[in-house]
Protein backbone atom coordinates (compact mmCIF):
# COMPACT_ATOMS: atom_id res chain seq x y z
CA UNK A 1 0.00 0.00 0.00
CA UNK A 2 2.08 2.91 -1.16
CA UNK A 3 -0.25 5.31 -2.92
CA UNK A 4 0.91 8.79 -1.84
CA UNK A 5 -1.75 10.72 0.08
CA UNK A 6 -1.05 13.68 -2.23
CA UNK A 7 -2.23 11.82 -5.31
CA UNK A 8 -5.56 10.85 -3.77
CA UNK A 9 -6.22 14.39 -2.58
CA UNK A 10 -5.25 15.71 -6.03
CA UNK A 11 -7.78 13.35 -7.65
CA UNK A 12 -10.39 14.57 -5.17
CA UNK A 13 -9.55 18.18 -6.05
CA UNK A 14 -9.74 17.56 -9.80
CA UNK A 15 -13.16 15.89 -9.46
CA UNK A 16 -14.37 18.79 -7.31
CA UNK A 17 -13.24 21.34 -9.89
CA UNK A 18 -14.93 19.38 -12.70
CA UNK A 19 -18.16 19.37 -10.67
CA UNK A 20 -17.89 23.12 -10.09
CA UNK A 21 -17.31 23.69 -13.82
CA UNK A 22 -20.46 21.67 -14.52
CA UNK A 23 -22.49 23.85 -12.17
CA UNK A 24 -21.10 27.02 -13.75
CA UNK A 25 -21.33 26.12 -17.45
CA UNK A 26 -24.36 23.87 -17.96
CA UNK A 27 -27.94 25.13 -18.18
CA UNK A 28 -29.88 21.88 -17.77
CA UNK A 29 -30.99 21.83 -14.11
CA UNK A 30 -30.63 18.01 -13.89
CA UNK A 31 -27.04 18.11 -15.18
CA UNK A 32 -26.26 20.88 -12.66
CA UNK A 33 -27.67 18.65 -9.94
CA UNK A 34 -25.53 15.72 -11.09
CA UNK A 35 -22.48 18.00 -10.96
CA UNK A 36 -23.31 18.77 -7.33
CA UNK A 37 -23.36 15.01 -6.68
CA UNK A 38 -19.91 14.79 -8.27
CA UNK A 39 -18.63 17.47 -5.89
CA UNK A 40 -20.09 15.65 -2.85
CA UNK A 41 -18.44 12.49 -4.09
CA UNK A 42 -15.04 14.16 -4.33
CA UNK A 43 -15.41 15.42 -0.76
CA UNK A 44 -16.18 11.83 0.29
CA UNK A 45 -13.00 10.67 -1.42
CA UNK A 46 -10.98 13.20 0.60
CA UNK A 47 -12.68 11.97 3.82
CA UNK A 48 -11.83 8.33 3.05
CA UNK A 49 -8.24 9.29 2.17
CA UNK A 50 -7.75 11.08 5.48
CA UNK A 51 -9.46 8.23 7.37
CA UNK A 52 -6.92 5.84 5.84
CA UNK A 53 -3.85 7.99 6.34
CA UNK A 54 -4.66 9.03 9.93
CA UNK A 55 -5.93 5.49 10.68
CA UNK A 56 -9.14 6.84 12.17
CA UNK A 57 -12.46 5.36 11.11
CA UNK A 58 -14.45 8.48 11.99
CA UNK A 59 -13.80 9.72 8.45
CA UNK A 60 -15.68 6.70 7.11
CA UNK A 61 -18.59 7.34 9.50
CA UNK A 62 -18.70 10.91 8.19
CA UNK A 63 -18.92 9.62 4.60
CA UNK A 64 -21.82 7.39 5.65
CA UNK A 65 -23.72 10.44 6.90
CA UNK A 66 -22.82 12.47 3.81
CA UNK A 67 -24.29 9.72 1.60
CA UNK A 68 -27.49 9.67 3.68
CA UNK A 69 -27.83 13.46 3.46
CA UNK A 70 -27.14 13.33 -0.30
CA UNK A 71 -29.98 10.81 -0.72
CA UNK A 72 -32.38 13.13 1.12
CA UNK A 73 -31.14 16.10 -0.90
CA UNK A 74 -31.66 14.28 -4.21
CA UNK A 75 -35.22 13.29 -3.28
CA UNK A 76 -36.21 16.87 -2.41
CA UNK A 77 -34.22 18.46 -5.26
CA UNK A 78 -35.69 16.23 -7.95
CA UNK A 79 -39.18 16.86 -6.53
CA UNK A 80 -38.51 20.59 -6.87
CA UNK A 81 -37.31 20.14 -10.46
CA UNK A 82 -40.46 18.16 -11.31
CA UNK A 83 -42.65 20.85 -9.69
CA UNK A 84 -40.85 23.61 -11.64
CA UNK A 85 -41.19 21.62 -14.88
CA UNK A 86 -44.95 21.31 -14.31
CA UNK A 87 -45.44 25.07 -14.18
CA UNK A 88 -42.70 26.29 -16.57
CA UNK A 89 -42.50 23.37 -19.04
CA UNK A 90 -38.73 23.81 -18.97
CA UNK A 91 -35.81 22.99 -16.71
CA UNK A 92 -33.43 25.43 -18.37
CA UNK A 93 -32.09 27.48 -15.45
CA UNK A 94 -31.80 30.55 -17.68
CA UNK A 95 -35.57 30.63 -18.12
CA UNK A 96 -36.45 30.19 -14.47
CA UNK A 97 -36.30 33.88 -13.67
CA UNK A 98 -39.79 34.81 -12.44
CA UNK A 99 -38.42 36.26 -9.22
CA UNK A 100 -36.16 38.58 -11.16
CA UNK A 101 -36.98 42.22 -10.29
Amino acid sequence: MDIPTNYLLALSGVLFILGALGVLTRRNAIVIFMSIELMLNSANLAFITFARSFEDMIGQIMVFFVIAVAAAEVAVGLALIVAIFKTKQSIDVDQISSMKG
Partner: protein, 171 residues
Protein backbone atom coordinates in the same frame (compact mmCIF):
# COMPACT_ATOMS: atom_id res chain seq x y z
CA UNK B 1 6.00 1.43 -8.99
CA UNK B 2 3.80 -1.18 -7.38
CA UNK B 3 0.52 -2.82 -8.31
CA UNK B 4 -1.49 -0.52 -6.04
CA UNK B 5 -0.07 2.63 -7.58
CA UNK B 6 -0.62 1.41 -11.15
CA UNK B 7 -4.19 0.39 -10.28
CA UNK B 8 -4.81 3.77 -8.67
CA UNK B 9 -3.47 5.69 -11.68
CA UNK B 10 -5.67 3.70 -14.08
CA UNK B 11 -8.72 4.28 -11.86
CA UNK B 12 -7.92 7.99 -11.51
CA UNK B 13 -7.69 8.38 -15.30
CA UNK B 14 -11.04 6.61 -15.72
CA UNK B 15 -12.66 8.76 -12.99
CA UNK B 16 -11.46 12.03 -14.54
CA UNK B 17 -12.38 10.89 -18.07
CA UNK B 18 -15.93 9.91 -17.04
CA UNK B 19 -16.38 13.20 -15.14
CA UNK B 20 -15.29 15.19 -18.23
CA UNK B 21 -17.57 13.08 -20.45
CA UNK B 22 -20.45 13.78 -18.08
CA UNK B 23 -19.87 17.51 -18.46
CA UNK B 24 -19.63 17.57 -22.26
CA UNK B 25 -22.42 15.10 -23.12
CA UNK B 26 -25.34 16.91 -24.70
CA UNK B 27 -27.74 14.13 -23.75
CA UNK B 28 -28.63 14.04 -20.04
CA UNK B 29 -29.05 10.25 -20.05
CA UNK B 30 -25.46 9.80 -21.23
CA UNK B 31 -24.38 12.22 -18.49
CA UNK B 32 -26.17 10.09 -15.89
CA UNK B 33 -24.58 6.87 -17.16
CA UNK B 34 -21.09 8.44 -17.12
CA UNK B 35 -21.75 9.57 -13.56
CA UNK B 36 -22.68 5.98 -12.58
CA UNK B 37 -19.37 4.82 -14.06
CA UNK B 38 -17.56 7.53 -12.10
CA UNK B 39 -19.22 6.45 -8.84
CA UNK B 40 -18.30 2.81 -9.41
CA UNK B 41 -14.68 3.80 -10.16
CA UNK B 42 -14.50 5.84 -6.95
CA UNK B 43 -15.99 2.85 -5.06
CA UNK B 44 -13.08 0.72 -6.30
CA UNK B 45 -10.67 3.40 -5.02
CA UNK B 46 -12.47 3.13 -1.64
CA UNK B 47 -11.72 -0.61 -1.71
CA UNK B 48 -8.04 0.21 -2.22
CA UNK B 49 -8.24 2.46 0.87
CA UNK B 50 -9.60 -0.27 3.22
CA UNK B 51 -13.14 1.11 3.19
CA UNK B 52 -15.06 -1.97 2.00
CA UNK B 53 -18.33 -1.09 3.73
CA UNK B 54 -18.38 2.46 2.37
CA UNK B 55 -17.57 1.12 -1.10
CA UNK B 56 -20.63 -1.13 -0.97
CA UNK B 57 -22.80 1.74 0.31
CA UNK B 58 -21.47 3.88 -2.54
CA UNK B 59 -22.46 1.29 -5.15
CA UNK B 60 -25.91 0.50 -3.75
CA UNK B 61 -27.03 3.96 -2.61
CA UNK B 62 -25.20 6.30 -4.99
CA UNK B 63 -24.70 4.35 -8.19
CA UNK B 64 -27.87 2.36 -7.59
CA UNK B 65 -30.68 4.24 -5.89
CA UNK B 66 -29.77 7.89 -6.45
CA UNK B 67 -28.82 7.54 -10.11
CA UNK B 68 -31.93 5.45 -10.87
CA UNK B 69 -33.96 8.32 -9.38
CA UNK B 70 -32.11 10.72 -11.70
CA UNK B 71 -32.79 8.50 -14.74
CA UNK B 72 -36.48 8.22 -13.77
CA UNK B 73 -36.84 12.01 -13.59
CA UNK B 74 -34.92 12.61 -16.84
CA UNK B 75 -37.14 10.14 -18.70
CA UNK B 76 -40.31 11.36 -16.97
CA UNK B 77 -39.70 14.95 -18.01
CA UNK B 78 -38.34 14.04 -21.44
CA UNK B 79 -35.52 16.45 -20.70
CA UNK B 80 -32.66 14.44 -22.12
CA UNK B 81 -31.88 16.79 -24.99
CA UNK B 82 -29.99 20.00 -24.30
CA UNK B 83 -31.84 23.20 -25.10
CA UNK B 84 -30.95 24.68 -28.48
CA UNK B 85 -29.39 28.10 -28.72
CA UNK B 86 -26.48 28.70 -26.41
CA UNK B 87 -27.13 31.89 -24.51
CA UNK B 88 -24.20 31.37 -22.16
CA UNK B 89 -21.51 33.36 -23.91
CA UNK B 90 -18.98 34.68 -21.44
CA UNK B 91 -19.59 32.29 -18.51
CA UNK B 92 -17.80 29.11 -19.78
CA UNK B 93 -14.40 30.77 -20.48
CA UNK B 94 -14.54 32.55 -17.13
CA UNK B 95 -15.50 29.32 -15.34
CA UNK B 96 -12.62 27.43 -16.98
CA UNK B 97 -10.22 30.25 -16.03
CA UNK B 98 -11.35 30.20 -12.39
CA UNK B 99 -11.29 26.39 -12.30
CA UNK B 100 -7.74 26.45 -13.64
CA UNK B 101 -6.72 28.94 -10.95
CA UNK B 102 -8.25 26.67 -8.26
CA UNK B 103 -6.42 23.67 -9.75
CA UNK B 104 -3.10 25.55 -9.59
CA UNK B 105 -3.76 26.35 -5.92
CA UNK B 106 -4.55 22.69 -5.21
CA UNK B 107 -1.35 21.61 -6.97
CA UNK B 108 0.74 24.17 -5.07
CA UNK B 109 -0.68 23.18 -1.68
CA UNK B 110 -0.51 19.42 -2.24
CA UNK B 111 2.77 19.05 -4.12
CA UNK B 112 4.90 21.97 -2.93
CA UNK B 113 3.78 23.33 0.40
CA UNK B 114 2.35 20.30 2.25
CA UNK B 115 4.40 17.72 0.37
CA UNK B 116 5.94 16.01 3.37
CA UNK B 117 3.48 17.04 6.07
CA UNK B 118 0.72 14.63 5.09
CA UNK B 119 0.96 11.25 6.86
CA UNK B 120 1.95 8.37 4.59
CA UNK B 121 -0.25 5.30 4.37
CA UNK B 122 1.01 2.76 6.87
CA UNK B 123 -0.41 -0.74 7.03
CA UNK B 124 -3.55 -0.93 9.16
CA UNK B 125 -5.14 -3.68 11.20
CA UNK B 126 -7.34 -6.17 9.40
CA UNK B 127 -10.65 -4.94 10.81
CA UNK B 128 -10.09 -1.31 9.77
CA UNK B 129 -13.20 -0.26 7.85
CA UNK B 130 -14.88 -3.65 8.14
CA UNK B 131 -18.70 -3.67 8.49
CA UNK B 132 -18.43 -4.95 12.09
CA UNK B 133 -16.14 -2.15 13.29
CA UNK B 134 -18.12 0.52 11.38
CA UNK B 135 -21.33 -0.82 12.92
CA UNK B 136 -19.87 -0.78 16.43
CA UNK B 137 -18.82 2.83 16.01
CA UNK B 138 -22.11 3.83 14.38
CA UNK B 139 -24.40 2.28 16.99
CA UNK B 140 -22.25 3.21 19.96
CA UNK B 141 -20.55 6.57 19.65
CA UNK B 142 -22.61 7.98 16.78
CA UNK B 143 -26.04 6.63 17.75
CA UNK B 144 -27.76 10.02 18.05
CA UNK B 145 -26.53 11.36 14.65
CA UNK B 146 -27.62 8.03 13.16
CA UNK B 147 -31.14 8.42 14.57
CA UNK B 148 -31.29 12.05 13.41
CA UNK B 149 -30.41 10.84 9.91
CA UNK B 150 -33.49 8.63 9.95
CA UNK B 151 -35.66 11.65 10.84
CA UNK B 152 -33.97 13.61 8.02
CA UNK B 153 -34.81 10.89 5.50
CA UNK B 154 -38.43 10.83 6.72
CA UNK B 155 -38.69 14.61 6.35
CA UNK B 156 -37.19 14.43 2.84
CA UNK B 157 -39.69 11.72 1.88
CA UNK B 158 -42.66 13.75 3.13
CA UNK B 159 -41.28 16.86 1.43
CA UNK B 160 -40.90 15.09 -1.91
CA UNK B 161 -44.48 13.76 -1.70
CA UNK B 162 -45.91 17.19 -0.86
CA UNK B 163 -43.92 18.94 -3.60
CA UNK B 164 -45.03 16.58 -6.37
CA UNK B 165 -48.62 15.90 -5.28
CA UNK B 166 -51.37 16.58 -7.74
CA UNK B 167 -53.18 19.74 -6.71
CA UNK B 168 -56.19 19.31 -8.98
CA UNK B 169 -57.89 17.10 -6.42
CA UNK B 170 -58.34 20.03 -4.04
CA UNK B 171 -60.49 22.16 -6.32
Amino acid sequence: MTQDLILFIVLAVIAVATAVSMLVSRNAIYSAMFLVLNFVTVAIIYLLLNAAFIAMVQVTVYAGAIMVLFLFVIMLLGAEKAASGDSLSWQPPLAILLGGALLMEFAYILFVRQKDLLPAMESVSKDFGSPASIGTLLFDRYLIPFEITSILLLVAMIGAIILTRNERKES
